[in-house]
């Protein structure tokens, strides 16, 4: 009898302490609806997986970590509302989001609320040029991407290049970045214009570009448009090579464009984990596949995962959730050699240090091949 009472008391005590413990809250702002909904769904999957693993290892500072997800709707106005909701929920940090213009709408809200924000797909240069104290990103910037793209274009020996963007913060930024650099290298820009995203017919654009007679088309927009452009260029029997920015790649691209049309398409992109040798990346991939049945299709969801790991590591190492201390630490001392996408550390602006971009090309089997 005594024994049973003792056991019961211990159980009560244990559950009581468990309830007394509060959690550390980390937010995720992701495009769960709207045109980037597929990116957002995967970001959520990645973070839920990493969060479950973190909690299985005991969480942070002896507390469980709670993931609070909100939807930015792939849209700046929705994002501002989502950001305001997240600030009221006591999150230490927020991971996200994908589109640069969407992130931009939330930056000041998080910064004023002293919440660390780690964007995962927003590569527009100006996001980190505003001197915001609590803003970071795990993806590189467009000027970094621009450099790699310029190198890739120079290597193709194209003399006349057409540049096509879609007027979004990101795509226009990258196009504007690359144009003067190419001109400096003596490459002629024969076409520079923007298409309207989310339509299905780009033959008018292609016909006009064809008239300008480029040796190469550099498209800085997103993958659904890239798929249509490649497919329709092939239908028009126009055999110009296309080079894309990092948003043109998604595993769906082969399906969208068709295998034949995608052959020879090249792009610059932070590598997917399957091109990373690290043990971390491999075990993460295996876990992801086990839980969801397929490998992550976008590099940005993995970069969101890295954002989560960075925040978790910084909290664990500084043993605090104080935003000033965390931001300071992340900017000056933080270094993670085993991040999913390679080594991560940040400069004083909150930008990721080091070159992350690689240059890839599709072969005739629809597989992507890393180019040297």
């Amino acid at each position: 009898m005594k024994k049973i009472v003792f056991v019961l008391m211990t159980v009560c005590l244990l559950t009581a302490t468990a309830y007394a413990q509060d959690t550390i809250k980390i937010g995720l702002m992701a495009p769960l609806t709207g045109s980037f909904a597929s990116e957002g769904a995967e970001m959520k999957q990645v973070l839920e997986l990493l969060n479950a693993e973190l909690n299985a290892k005991g969480g942070l500072l002896g507390k469980k970590v709670e993931l609070i997800t909100d939807d930015d709707g792939s849209d700046a106005r929705t994002a501002a509302l989502a950001a305001q909701r997240l600030t009221t929920k006591g999150v230490v940090a927020v991971i996200g989001t994908y589109g640069s213009s969407v992130t931009e709408a939330s930056q000041n809200i998080f910064n004023e609320a002293k919440i660390i924000q780690v964007a995962n797909g927003s590569t527009a240069i100006r996001l980190t040029e505003k001197g915001l104290k609590y803003f970071f990103r795990t993806c590189p910037r467009d000027d970094e991407q621009g450099k790699v793209a310029v190198d890739a274009i120079v290597k193709t020996k194209a003399k006349k290049v057409a540049i096509l963007h879609d007027n979004s913060t990101y795509a226009k930024g990258l196009a504007d970045e690359v144009k003067p650099q190419l001109e400096k290298k003596g490459i002629k820009i024969v076409f520079f214009d923007a298409l309207t995203p989310k339509q299905s017919d780009y033959t008018a654009v292609l016909t006009k570009m064809k008239g300008a007679g480029p040796d190469l088309v550099f498209f800085t927009g997103y993958y659904s448009e890239a798929g249509l452009l490649l497919k329709q260029a092939k239908q028009m029997n126009w055999k110009v090579p296309f080079l894309g920015g990092d948003a043109t790649y998604n595993t769906d691209l082969v399906k969208l464009a068709g295998r034949e049309a995608v052959t020879g398409f090249s792009f610059v992109m932070p590598p997917l984990p399957k091109y990373l040798p690290s043990k971390q990346a491999k075990s993460f991939l295996a876990d992801f596949k086990k839980k969801y049945g397929n490998e992550p299709s976008s590099p940005y969801s993995v970069l969101a995962g890295d954002g989560f790991r960075v925040v978790a590591a910084a909290i664990a190492q500084t043993k605090t959730t104080d935003p000033d201390k965390l931001a300071n630490y992340m900017k000056t001392q933080f270094k993670d050699k085993d991040a999913l996408t390679g080594t991560i550390s940040f400069n004083a602006k909150g930008d990721r240090v080091g070159d992350v971009y690689r240059y890839f090309k599709f072969d005739s089997k629809g597989e992507i091949v890393l180019q040297k």
Binding site: T33, T196, D201, A204, T207, L228, Q232, L256
Partner: protein
Amino acid sequence: MEEFFQQLTNGLAVGSIYALIALGYTMVYGVLKLINFAHGDLFTIGAYLGMTLLASFALHETIGPFIGLVVLALMVMGLVAILGAIVERTAYRPLRESPRLSAVVSALGASIFLQNAVMLIYGARFQVYPEDLIPETAIDLFGLYVPLVRILVLAASLVLMAALYTFIQKTRIGTAIRAAAIDQDAARLMGIDVTRVILLVFLIGPALGGAAGLMVGLQYGQINFTMGWTYGMKAFTAAILGGIGNIPGAMLGGLLLGVIEAMGSAYISIAWKDAIAFFVLILILIVRPTGLLGERVAEKV
């Protein structure tokens, strides 16, 4: 000059899709004076249903590509028509006697409901039609390179439009629809069952919208749950351009809008394509406030 004609075919191909969708807007507006915002989403559903039916029956393999596609189109049109009638029954008919604003709000609600239903059923990712349904050959028309699928789509939409025009102008039921559009009360006094006419309009319009969705899927291969919004917006513009409520007007407006877009991007700027299209719309509305073929309606004072 070659580029001009190439752009003309590009514009006509897009415009024929706009025209098919615009017919749904204009017919409903003609009879009910209501803008059926859910129409764009019925178009989306047509595209998704086409994909599902293609994958599950593979008719093009069993009974030949041509008959297979015709049967597929009929199935899609039938299903979307039924859905259109359900939308009418549940979202619009209960509000028939209410102020017009309530019906507009209900239409927006139906649109949001259908769009999200498609997202929940099929997921947010882009979906892709099976490849190689229609041989990817291009036909050489006096030096112009036009893919076969474009010609088929343009021809199919012209046939549908011609069929609708004949139906509305030459048959008794068509006359009843026109009568109900002019004056519902007078039509009722003449023994026309207006409720059935409205139901019929909600069968024909969505059927054409569904066919347009299938054509977009076949032609471009990639479909997405938000596509109805973009196409719906353009088709609605086309309906106004041609004169909303007027059936030949919707056809003309759709084709014209497609051509204006293509020419605008060819000779002015691609980025300004939509702005140019709307600029032309404003110009036309200034000169002809009722649209190109819209009749003058004297306001009752």
